[in-house]
Amino acid sequence: MAYIEFVNVSKQFPGALRPSVNNCSLAIEQGTFVVLLGLSGCGKTTLLKMVNRLHEPTSGHILIDGEDIRHLPVTALRQRIGYVIQQTGLFPHMTVAQNIAVVPKLLGWQRERIESRIDELLTLIELPPAEYRHRYPSQLSGGQQQRVGLARALAGDPEVMLMDEPFGAIDAITRATLQDEMIFLQRQLQKTILFVTHDVEEALRLADKIVVMDMGCIVQYDTPFRILTRPANQFVTNLVGADDTVRHLSLISVERAMQSPPPDFHVNGQPRIALHDNLRNALSLLLRTGTQTLVVAQDEHPVGILTMGQIQHLVGRVHEL
């Protein structure tokens, strides 16, 4: 059964000419990483904020774990949902530790449990507790602040995380690092995540499933691969660059395309690529080294080969995959 469910949800702000969110229905499975993608003003934030009731729908309802969210006291609901925003919203008068302790305190946890939770989370986001516990937000870099924002949202061990462009204000390199950490974290934590972005690459990297929105409506809800290979309409095609072959390749693993080596093949100094890497990186490696064949390796052992010809062949058949 779906963990978060939107049923015919609409939201029209007072005085607005048209609804910001228009009759959206969406079922999200537990433990999935769902990215809301769309142009500025299409209603992503509005949809997100209805989940923790910072906005109330004009019509329709939202269920979490089968329960209508309006049936819970609003503070109790919010304490169960982690919330991360672009501007971090960290409390500048509280230390990192105090910021992280906010929700556990609201939940009435014991002091020792809160203290060990703070250390655990700081270790998880790779800010050594001894060094960072007593810093104030103003004494952290933008990327570190965003990590603390994430830790604070995770503190009460919520089932659901809402993240509104958390990496939007961060330079490209740091953003890529944070995305990697996010992927790594999600692999361990298996939260149900709703993540807003208008960065297509970010959506493709992070999402189990992408919700494409346009003018308040959900246009397509599908896996990144299917969004790219079977866009629902021209809008989706343009938005995600579904015509972009290289982008397709970034979603296909080397494992899927490799072949077993022909009998006369000898490992002989050819460039290597990891089994779990993607074809975009493989292509880049082929072009950079000017070879035709890569050795696919798993834990240093060659397990197959990947040729330029095979990548071209796959590009032609990508819509059948």
């Binding site: 910072l54 609901l77 919330y83 409390f91 008068h93 809402l162």
Partner: protein, 212 residues
């Protein structure tokens, strides 16, 4: 130096007169500041949230502010006579604008993302006010109180003109008798009080300042 010695001798020759004026001065200041705080702190919290209230009350205190204190003192006379009340009311009016304006600004300029984060984490309105908004607003509010305090300490000398006492008594008397020593008996303690208020409030403000 000679003048200072004379002033000291004058004060020591009439200790009960001096201390009475001194205490009266402090009571006037504290009364005015307390009333202004009781009115303006809640009012400022409200005006920061309501555009209508903000326009109305901020304009009102700004208008009151341009009336010279001495004029306010004399305007009070028909109602309260030559009394402590008249002086206290005039000083309260003087103390209100900086406190109200700073309280309003302190809450109005809070980063909306911080408020949103607090709500999103499931704090109730009262907790948000106590744990988040108030601590962040406090330094700016204290600046307003400091301004008010220094102004009121200095202006409380005017109370003497309507017979409400305070250290202004010596200033009035000194100028009438053209005796500078007597004038200093009023002026020096007032100056010291104002400096102490300034220094004390600055220290308090630093102690609650959010690290930047």
């Amino acid at each position: 130096m000679e003048l200072l010695r004379e002033a000291l001798a004058y004060a020591q020759s009439r200790p009960e007169l001096f201390w009475e004026a001194f205490v009266r001065h402090i009571v006037l200041v504290l009364t005015a500041i307390s009333i202004a705080l009781v009115i303006c702190l809640p009012l400022g919290v409200w005006t920061a949230r309501s555009r209508w209230a903000s326009l109305t009350f901020i304009n009102l205190v700004n208008t009151l502010r341009v009336i010279p204190s001495i004029a306010v003192l004399f305007l009070m006379l028909p109602y309260f006579g030559l009394s402590f009340q008249s002086a206290a009311i005039a000083l309260t009016i003087l103390a209100m604008p900086p406190i109200l304006i700073n309280t309003d600004a302190a809450f109005r300029t809070l980063n909306p993302a911080i408020r949103e984060a607090a709500q999103g984490m499931g704090m109730d309105a009262l907790t948000i006010f106590r744990k988040v908004e108030l601590p962040l607003a406090l330094p700016i509010i204290l600046t307003g109180i400091r301004t008010a305090l220094v102004e009121v300490i200095a202006s409380a000398t005017l109370a003497a003109f309507i017979g409400a006492g305070g250290l202004g008594n010596f200033i009035v008397l000194g100028s009438q008798l053209r005796n500078e020593a007597i004038l200093l008996v009023g002026a020096i303690p007032v100056a010291i009080m104002a400096i102490l208020a300034e220094v004390g409030m600055s220290a308090l403000q630093r102690s609650v300042q959010v690290p930047l």
